[in-house]
């Protein structure tokens, strides 16, 4: 039998490569114009670099070097760029702006056509606090998707702290909060509602808490008062400052969750009718840089380039 690539990896041949190059070029033009500089880091990092914040989307492949040290294949570019800032930009003037187009490596779950190696294109904005840093990144995100040629995309925006703080307000203890976030991360609204009903909450409170992760829509959902009022503060600030072209793409989503642990505030995710799964996402990670000796607020996004490419062909089919 002929040798093929490992499952979850693939070759890219010239016809597809030409299209991917052209797409990368269009993204690069937007990143450059917004003042971001390209960065390249090694595919292999020391294990310790990735050991603090991984979550489900952390590194999956480890190798020993010739001295017995453990190296990992990077699972994203955000952590290596945070390391670079700690290593090389100790006294640099802020904010720092980087962009990249580089492969990342994650575990592929069994029996699925998942990629172990996938191309990401994205930006990191370091030293720019909320809300203005977040707004800049969201505007660049929408500009780059438009430049890529997508016309029907939307960007879902949520806040990782929102649901946990609401649960805490209702006296749900930490163990149960963790359990509920896990169910929410699995998108199992039925199990969330059942778990809430079994907790020491009034029927009305349990129903309200079960309904919150389902709320998504235009800026009108940010007008909520009562218990949600305080938790929506950051999203309101972001909304007030978005460019009009970005604002009309946004879906506010009170149930948005991401599989990466280092996010600390506003998070986002890209949807397009041309593909059945999100094209990418990002958010604020205000604590990650402290791991590398520079406690700086930061925010960024990454697009899965192959999925953007699939969505482009999907949109052509739909509109075609």
């Amino acid at each position: 039998m002929a040798e093929w690539t490992p499952s979850g990896t693939r070759d890219v041949l010239p016809d597809e490569m030409r299209e991917l190059r052209a797409l990368g070029e269009r993204l690069r033009t937007v990143f450059d114009a917004a003042g971001y500089g390209e960065i390249r880091t090694p595919a292999l990092e020391n294990e310790i670099t990735f050991s603090r914040d991984g979550g489900d989307a952390g590194p999956a492949y480890r190798v020993f070097d010739e001295h017995g040290n453990v190296l990992v294949l990077r699972s994203d570019m955000t952590v290596p760029i945070a390391r670079v800032v700690g290593n090389r930009y100790a006294d640099a003037q802020l904010p720092l702006r980087f962009w990249y187009e580089a492969p990342a490596y994650r575990a592929a779950r069994p029996r699925r056509g998942e990629s172990r190696e996938f191309m990401q294109a994205g930006i990191e904005l370091i030293g720019a606090p909320a809300p203005h840093g977040t707004v800049e990144v969201l505007n660049v995100l929408c500009d780059s998707l438009l430049a890529a040629g997508l016309t029907d995309f939307k960007v879902g925006i949520g806040d990782v702290r929102l649901y946990a703080s609401l649960l805490a307000d209702y006296g749900v203890d930490e163990r149960q909060r963790v359990r509920l976030s896990r169910l929410l991360a699995r998108h199992d609204f039925v199990a969330v509602a059942e778990a809430l009903q079994r907790m020491d909450l009034s029927a009305a409170d349990a129903e309200l808490l079960a309904s919150v992760p389902r709320i998504h829509g235009g800026p009108e959902i940010l007008d909520a008062d009562g218990p949600l009022d305080a938790a929506l503060g950051d999203l309101r600030e972001v909304h007030a400052a978005l460019a009009p072209e970005t604002a009309r793409r946004v879906i506010y989503d009170l149930g948005l969750v991401r599989s990466i642990d280092y996010y600390t505030g506003v998070i986002f995710q890209v949807y397009d009718p041309g593909h059945g799964q999100p094209l990418g996402g990002g958010g604020r990670y205000d604590n990650l840089l402290a791991n590398f000796g520079r406690p700086l607020p930061a925010v960024g996004f990454a697009l899965n380039v192959e999925r953007v490419h699939i969505a482009l062909t999907g949109e052509e089919r739909i509109d075609g």
Binding site: H187, D188, V190, G217, I251, Y271, P273, G276, R317, D319
Partner: protein, 246 residues
């Protein structure tokens, strides 16, 4: 396919994956109640794609595949299927409450052979169509198990001595009883669930929310039925239908 996708996307119409088999009848009844015309589906056993009703039909275990890919925006399938395919990226929106079954551990009547094998052999052999549910169950219990995946009548496996027990879905328990098998443990209760593609849920919110609201309304009606007979329950519903026709 492509043109259908275009119409659906522009009009915000949703495409629903409907399971053939045991869940089909209740699923079609529910769709009728929320105003989706299923006549064509009921009349065609072999047709798979019903463009006018926005319905595609398939075996229940294929529903998550179509919904995850976005080929269907919504789907209806059993919780047993969702537990077995837990890694799928999709949303579980609603418990539809019909198709109630139990996932059980069962073995031949008499002394429990599972217990004997565990004690004397250190490992139990289990036949099932649900290898992931069975593995997870024995891992939780701290018991080493050899999972034997079978496609057809699972009941045969313990009767022939190939395995000590089975993990399988049962509605009434009749098939188990007829094969001299007794339930040793209940692993999960499974009902039909409404699932959604993650992108469709965000981009076709209005259409999906409207459908969910109509489903929830039928569930409220159902919970009221036993207590509110006569004037409280049946008549207003009939009255509504009447006024719609006018």
């Amino acid at each position: 396919m492509a043109d259908a996708g275009a119409r659906d996307s522009e009009s915000g119409r949703v495409r629903l994956a409907v399971p053939r088999g045991a869940l089909l009848g209740d699923t079609l009844d529910l769709l009728d109640r929320i105003g989706i015309d299923t006549t064509e589906v009921r009349e065609n056993d072999r047709k798979l794609l019903f463009e006018d009703a926005g319905i595609i039909t398939m075996r229940p275990s294929d529903v998550p595949t179509y919904v995850e890919s976005g080929a269907a925006d919504l789907g209806i399938t059993g919780k047993d299927v969702l537990l077995e395919q837990a890694e799928r990226e999709l949303y579980e929106l609603s418990d539809l409450r019909f198709g109630r079954c139990r996932m059980v551990l069962a073995s031949v009547a008499g002394p429990d052979r599972v217990e004997e094998a565990r004690r004397r052999l250190g490992i139990v052999r289990i036949a099932t169509k649900y290898p992931r549910i069975a593995s997870a169950y024995f891992e939780r219990a701290g018991v080493q198990a050899e999972i034997v995946e079978v496609r057809g009548s699972v009941e045969l496996a313990p009767l022939t001595g190939m395995v000590e027990a089975i993990v399988d879905l049962t509605a009434t328990g009749t098939t188990l009883r007829e094969n001299r098998l007794v339930i040793r443990d209940e692993i999960a209760v499974c009902t039909a669930r409404l699932i959604a593609n993650p992108v469709s849920l965000k981009l076709k919110t209005a259409a999906i929310d409207a459908l969910l609201a109509r489903i929830e309304a039928t569930q409220v009606e159902d919970t009221k039925k036993p207590t509110a007979q006569g004037p409280g329950g049946q008549e207003p519903a009939a009255g509504r239908r009447g006024s719609n026709e006018v």
